[in-house]
Amino acid sequence: MKALVWHGKQDIRCDQVSDPGIEDPRDAIIKVTSCAICGSDLHLFHNFIPAMKNGDIMGHEMMGEVVEVGSEAKGKLKKGDRIVVPFTIICGQCDQCRRGNFSVCERSNRNKEMADKVYGHSTAGLFGYTHLTGGYPGGQAEYLRVPFADATHIKVPDNLTDEQVLFLGDIFPTGWQAAAHCDIEPTDTVAVWGCGPVGQMAIRSAILLGARQVVAIDCIPERLSMAQAGGAITINFETESVIERLNDLTSGKGPEKCIDAVGLESHVSMGQPDTLLDRAKQAVMMESDRPHVVREMIYVCRPGGIISIPGVYSGLVDKIPLGIAMNKGLSFRMGQTHVNRWTDDLLRRIEEGQIDPSFVITHTARLEDGPEMYKMFRDKQDSCIKVVLKP
């Protein structure tokens, strides 16, 4: 089969690889009908997430048709079922899964020993990601083996298109969880840094959860226009001061809730000297992540507010003003998404027509064109915000 394979820093190729097969009675094999390139795929593309290996298959946003089912998954799945695959692999039985903390499933990471040593305690296995999370082959491929398939799936009805439901596997629940973590009240201002796909979902989630006003911060005009369409007031940080605008919009008090949908590769600009320092440190491996957005959120957030971080961070950051955060009494909530905690509710909202996540798709291409689409998405060319690939 064809698959997009990681061969090193900025080197992803469309290769011919062997087909996957059932390895465990709880497995299923799906024929991938749609998959997408995620912003966090770019962190892997840039080799900012440690423990990738030459030959790893990329992709953690995918859906398809079940073509083979292991004996122990047959009660929940059958051939022909149409499923979205959550990017977090879950056993559905461990203590964490029973609590709904699916992204820290205790059993699905097959490199648990390594993850225990690096993280202190292992997190869940993830598709198409680092070997710290199991190194499972991803879904930017024609076929995918789904481990623990009896639990790791979201069945979707035939009357919804792939484009409407594909993002239930990652970016929609990720944006939703970011907003849910904010405990939004009707008087709240929610500020969202980053108007990429997760930021767009977070903006719409905050609207649906009843925020008084949502403010979106970015510097890419087309992303800001899409944020505006979703009901956000926009700030272009290259032409105006984020801190002054946010204070103006909140009577000088700052937003109650701040969402970082940027993560470890924040924009570098001459007007923000800390970003230059971060970039230099990252280049010589003195710091793994660029946390400018976290610093700005801590500074501008209203005392007693909440900082929610769906953006991916990989390791070590410098110069986080923890003293300011402590004295302002800020709460931090973050983590990989507990996808299945939210998907029943989100699927219902899609079916009821409250939201149609396909609005974010700007480019659709063949799997073979994947490497070129990675480049286009990374370089933000042709107004690219979200790429869907059709194997």
């Binding site: 698959a3 820093k9 005009p221 369409a229």
Partner: protein, 169 residues
């Protein structure tokens, strides 16, 4: 690292049979090559300044050679980053300085001026490569100028924004 090497894939995981088209184009690969070359040359200039000065007839200018070495390493690291264009641009600026320095050395009344002339030729050749590389990177990776597409018709709310604001169920 040892742990990573031991984190073997499952025997059933798909294996690469043949490799296809990828993301790395010629300018990207050239930038990497120039980056490593820059770091190598920079180390030589930084730690072997006396020898370089003797070879080129630039005795007394060891401090300048070391400074050039530090500059080469800096631009080399930048060339190896995820956005190599500024690193290659820094190399071009450095080439101009090197050419000016070597042009003076190549005209000195010194039996070693032949070495300086050879070095000057080499730097001129590398400069051509740097310029080709920078043009290639810009053509391949630069964002098109202009405001981009207008997505203000993409609310994502089929029943409209006002309905979405009141949909807290």
């Amino acid at each position: 690292m040892n742990m990573l090497m031991k984190s073997a894939r499952s025997p059933g995981d798909p294996r690469v049979i043949s490799t296809g088209p990828g993301t790395l184009a010629s300018p990207d690969q050239l930038a990497r090559g120039l980056g490593w070359f820059s770091i190598g040359l920079g180390m030589l200039e930084l730690f072997g300044a006396h020898r370089v000065a003797r070879t080129l007839g630039l005795e007394g200018s060891e401090w300048m050679i070391r400074a050039c070495g530090a500059r080469e390493i800096g631009s080399g690291v930048a060339c190896l980053s995820v956005n190599p264009a500024p690193g290659v641009a820094a190399r071009i600026a450095g080439d101009a300085l090197d050419i000016a320095t070597l042009a003076v050395a190549a005209q000195q009344d010194d039996p070693r001026r032949g070495n300086a002339q050879l070095a000057l030729l080499a730097v001129l050749g590398i400069t051509v490569l740097d310029v080709i590389c920078h043009q290639g990177l810009t053509a391949r990776h630069a964002r098109q100028p202009g405001p981009g597409r207008d997505y203000r018709d993409r609310s994502g709310f089929p029943k409209g924004l006002a309905h979405a604001r009141n949909a807290q169920v």
